[in-house]
C-alpha cells in the first residue's frame, strides 16, 4: 500500500502516541486496541496485516515488547515512501510512547527514593508486593492458556510446567530452555 503523509500527519501521529503513553499501565500492549483503531480504521496508514505483523515480530524477538510500537511507525513510513520516512515514523512512534511515561517514571522514582522512609511510600511498595507477585504468575498462566483450555493443548502446557519447575528450582541458563522449546516446536512435537 502507498500513502501520502504531510507535516500535519506526522505531527498527529506523534501527538497520538504522546497522548497514549500515560494510559499504558501494564505495558504498551494494553493500548494496542486503540492504536489499531487509529492507524488502521481511522487513518488508513497501516494495513491490518502490517499491524498484526508488527506485534508478532516484536513478540518473537528478544527485548521489551514495546518495540512493536516502533515497528508500527516503521511500517507507516514504508507505506509513505521508503526508508527515510520509515526511520522518521519509527522515531516518532517510539519517542511518543516513551517520553511521557519515562519522564513520569524518572521523577516518581526520584521522589520515592528521597522519601523512602515515609510511611505511605513504604506502605505502597510493600503493599503492592503480593499483587505484583501474583501478577507474574497470572501472566504466565494467561500466556500458557492463550489458545483456550482445550485439552489437545496438553503438550504446550507440559512444556510450560516443565520450564516453570526448572527455572524455579535450578540454575539452568534460560537460553537453553528457550532453545529446547524452539526445537520441540520446530520438529512439530508441541
Amino acid at each position: 500500500m502507498s500513502i501520502a503523509m504531510d507535516f500535519g500527519d506526522w505531527l498527529s501521529l506523534f501527538a497520538h502516541y504522546l497522548a497514549l503513553s500515560l494510559l499504558t499501565v501494564g505495558g504498551a500492549v494494553s493500548a494496542a486496541p486503540d492504536m489499531h483503531r487509529y492507524l488502521v480504521d481511522e487513518r488508513g496508514w497501516l494495513t491490518d496485516a502490517q499491524f498484526s505483523a508488527s506485534i508478532a515480530i516484536a513478540q518473537s524477538a528478544p527485548g521489551p515488547n514495546v518495540l512493536f510500537v516502533a515497528l508500527m511507525g516503521w511500517h507507516v513510513g514504508l507505506n509513505a515512501g521508503g526508508l527515510g520516512p520509515a526511520v522518521l515514523g519509527m522515531a516518532l512512534c517510539l519517542g511518543g510512547i516513551m517520553l511521557p511515561s519515562t519522564a513520569l517514571a524518572y521523577f516518581a522514582t526520584r521522589w520515592g527514593h528521597e522519601n523512602r522512609n515515609r510511611r505511605d511510600v513504604r506502605a505502597f511498595k510493600q503493599g503492592m508486593t503480593p499483587v505484583v507477585i501474583a501478577l507474574l504468575v497470572a501472566t504466565g498462566w494467561i500466556l500458557a492458556t492463550g489458545n483456550g483450555y482445550r485439552l489437545d493443548n496438553w503438550p504446550l502446557w507440559l512444556v510450560t510446567a516443565a520450564a516453570t519447575a526448572i527455572v524455579w528450582r535450578t540454575k539452568v541458563h534460560l537460553l537453553w530452555l528457550l532453545a529446547a522449546g524452539a526445537l520441540l516446536g520446530w520438529f512439530g512435537l508441541v
Partner: protein, 197 residues
C-alpha cells in the same frame, strides 16, 4: 542518586560505570525472548546481586504500577539509583537500542518466513517456555511475603485474589491493580509502624 551512602553499604556489588550499566542491560534485553523480566531477576538478583529479592519486588511494584513498559521503567529506576539521570538514560538505552536493531532486521525478513510451519512451531514452543519463565519468576519472589508486614496468611490471600481476578476471571489489569492493590496498600499502611525501621 548521586549520594548513595546510607542506602548502599560499601561492600555491596553495583554497576561500575555507565558503560557497565548500558552493556548489562543490553545483554539482559537480548536474552529476553517472550519477556525480559525473568532474565532481569536471574541476572541482577541471583548473579550480579545488585538488588536483593525484597528490593527487586518493591522496585517491580513501582515499575508495574506506573504507565510505560515495565522493564524499561525498571531499568530506568535501577540506572538512576546509581548514576542519576545519566544512569537512567544508560539503562533505558541499553534496554532499547540493540533490541530495536534486531527487531528491524526481523521485520526485513519476516515476510519470507512468516508462513513457514517450522518457524511458527518454534515460536509456539518458545512461547510456552516463556510462559514458564515468568511463572517461575513469580514463584521465586514469593518468599518475600514471609517478611510482609501483613503477615503470611493475609498477604497470600491478597495474592490469590489478584491471581483469580487476572488469570481466572480475566478482569482488566487496571481494575485489579487499583482494587486489590489499593486495599493491600491501605492495610499495609495501618500495619506499619510510624517511623522507619
Amino acid at each position: 542518586m548521586m549520594s548513595p551512602p546510607e542506602a548502599l553499604p560499601q561492600k555491596r556489588p553495583q554497576p561500575q560505570s555507565l558503560t557497565d550499566l548500558f552493556l548489562s542491560f543490553t545483554i539482559l534485553a537480548l536474552q529476553g525472548f517472550g519477556g525480559v523480566l525473568a532474565v532481569v531477576q536471574r541476572d541482577l538478583v541471583e548473579k550480579k546481586r545488585w538488588l536483593t529479592r525484597e528490593e527487586f519486588v518493591e522496585d517491580w511494584a513501582v515499575a508495574q504500577t506506573l504507565p510505560g513498559p515495565n522493564v524499561v521503567n525498571l531499568s530506568l529506576m535501577i540506572g538512576s539509583r546509581y548514576f542519576g539521570w545519566r544512569g537512567a538514560l544508560a539503562g533505558v538505552a541499553g534496554m532499547l537500542v540493540c533490541p530495536l536493531l534486531v527487531v528491524l532486521c526481523l521485520a526485513l525478513v519476516y515476510t519470507r518466513f512468516a508462513g513457514d510451519p517450522q518457524v511458527a512451531g518454534a515460536l509456539r514452543g518458545m512461547g510456552a517456555v516463556a510462559a514458564g519463565l515468568i511463572t517461575a519468576t513469580g514463584l521465586k519472589l514469593a518468599p518475600a511475603l514471609r517478611r510482609h508486614p501483613l503477615g503470611v496468611p493475609l498477604s497470600v490471600a491478597l495474592a490469590l485474589a489478584c491471581f483469580a481476578g487476572i488469570a481466572l476471571a480475566r478482569l482488566p489489569l487496571v481494575y485489579v491493580l487499583f482494587a486489590v492493590g489499593g486495599l493491600a496498600c491501605v492495610l499495609t499502611y495501618r500495619a506499619l509502624p510510624e517511623a522507619a525501621a
